[in-house]
Amino acid sequence: METMTGAKALMTAMEKEGVKQVFGLPGGANLPMYDEFARCNIRHILVRHEQSAAHMADGFGRVSRKPGVCFATSGPGATNILTGIATAQADSAPMIAVTGQVPVAMIGRDAFQESDIIGMANPVVKYAFQPRKAEEIPEVVKKGFFIAETGRPGPVLIDIPKDVQQNEAEMIFPDEFKIRGYHPWTDPDIVNVEKAIDMLLQAQKPVILAGGGTIISSAFAELQAISELLMIPVVTTFKGKGSFPETHPLSLGPIGMHGHAEANKVMSEADCVLAIGTRFSDRSVGTFEAFEKKLKIIHMDVDPAEIGKNQTTNIAVVGDVRASLRIMVKMLMQKAIKNTQETPWLKHVKETKEYWKENLKLHPGEMGAAKILRKLRELLPAESIITTEVGQHQMWASLFYDVIQPGTFFSSTGLGTMGWGFPAAIGAKVARPDIPVVDIAGDGSFSMTENSLATAVLEDIPVIVFLLNNFTLGMVAQWQRTFYDRRMIGVDQGKCPDYVKLAESYGAQGIRAQSMDELDKAIKTALNSDVATVIDIPIDPEEDVLPFVAPGTSLSDMILPS
């Protein structure tokens, strides 16, 4: 037992959890914790807006699979990180957000920079703590990390009143604790795994749908083993993109609103699906009723509340999906099940894949999205990490950037938060400084958090912003072209700012690429630079993302390039 302040206890507890850095921004109500950076081994990475701090922590957490930590002050600092917290919650990313709060005696009196962040954050956190006594802090931190990273991961908020940070107390750092209402682990459901195998073996047209849970639990090898043993083609959700190598012969890529044509086609023809770690989002499956019609669904998920939420399930396997898939692999091996024959279904799947490879019409120009993203893929090492912003470029990345090494592609898929990709790339680079990290960006989304260039430059975190610049809020523009009779309202961004000059003004490298040759050089230059680089690639503002499954329709109703 040791006497120390609440702030010191916070930092000590975080060091015990292995925290090496915090993304954040100081203010009046969190100064006591900031003062502790002078006396501990945790690096502070300064942001220019708290939302970016949360996205950095999120990017760090998704890549390292340990919670990233962000700090913000009370009031506006806290409300600014809310978007980042909600983003992490929607994509089940582990995160610890620590906010300062006004002193306990001031709570509820509408004090300066007071906000009821616990009340506001409740629906978008996995859990929230507000320690009222300094001595509660060590256990709160311990529980917070445990909750954030176990089961279905998520963000945990710790809101600490200023006097609780300042007060001294005898601190006990517990090794054990009890949370009575939290049971993140269930025993693997062996019986239902066996039933699932039987159902898959009986199916004429089976398909595997791998969701984000496959990536969170790193079930890559297990997924590939099952696909290969049973010779079942693999489609993914957008969040599950890259859970299976997209260069694999059995890979069809993501399904959904902007899924691959072959993936949507095969998914809508299948008679049985093994769905792994997915919530069957409307963006993935289209209308729920059409999706589950004529389809037997085996659903594996760590979160029991996902079973039956959006889709009626025939067989549910609750538990960590990697553990469940491992059992499945073991059973298949024991039963010596290995399909080698090409079934009519598999032949059809291959033909479908071939057909769309040949026949999907792409933008005819030199700087079409497909050509640009395939060039990026060609020049990036396989292990490179990709984050994306939100918009057309994100969906082009889904369509045209093949993930080779599983678990190297991250995006704000659930909340669809514009401005996520760049700070998330910075967080990812902090987690993996040894490999290239590229934010595939659009101009609308990038401009929301572009001031993170300051963080990338000053903190020496050299990420690459690969900016497909159509001077437009492109996805909205596409919807206005498609559904609103070309009435273009509120989408023109003009040639403003000049992103090369913007990058340079921050001390980053800015390169404009207007041809494939220039793009080739720019990517190589960026990869060899030790400073953050923005590659500004002007593109046709009229290029649409196609195929497109309109909202409220089913995967078989794709709008295709004319």
Binding site: I118, N122, I179, G181, P304, A305, G308, K309
Partner: protein, 161 residues
């Protein structure tokens, strides 16, 4: 649509009622009635929530409540095996001389207690199932109901079931 009684054991800490009711709002579920009280163990409170929904919705409510870290146990109670009651207080108008006697008779038939008889109003306390309270309300309506206060349902499953 079915009616369901949910019994939710929660940590007896501030803010939990907010979280539970917020879950109903954010997930688009309905709260028909709610009652909360501390249990024999002061570390826990028990909430009884009655709600409407189809089978799938009720199952989803139970799962989402169960997922909450502050809930220790969530059960959907079987109506047939459960004692469930709600306390209600009616203030009823007295217009005619015979009204007081009539309402007393009605109260007797329902096992309700009569309180606070005034010149122009009478208060009746009825502890019963929500269906019985509704039936009583219909029969009392012709006299003129001035006000009603209800507690929400409290429920316990019978032993051995």
């Amino acid at each position: 649509m079915m009616w369901a009684i949910l019994s939710i054991l929660v940590e007896n800490k501030p803010g939990i009622l907010f979280k539970v009711t917020h879950l109903f709002r954010s997930r688009n579920f309905n709260i028909d009635s709610i009652s909360v009280g501390v249990t024999e163990n002061p570390e826990y409170s028990k909430m009884t929530i009655t709600t409407y929904g189809d089978e799938k919705q009720i199952a989803q409510i139970v799962k989402q409540l169960d997922k909450m870290i502050d809930t220790v146990e969530v059960k959907q109670l079987d109506e047939q095996k459960t004692v469930y009651r709600e306390l209600s207080i009616f203030k009823i108008k007295l217009s005619n001389a015979s009204d007081s006697m009539e309402i007393n008779k009605l109260a007797n038939a329902y096992g309700a207690k009569v309180h606070d008889v005034r010149k122009d109003s009478i208060m009746v306390e009825l502890t019963a199932t929500p269906d019985q309270i509704k039936a009583f309300e219909e029969l009392a309506a012709p006299f003129g109901i001035i006000d009603i206060a209800r507690t929400g349902v409290a429920a316990l499953q019978r032993s051995g079931s």
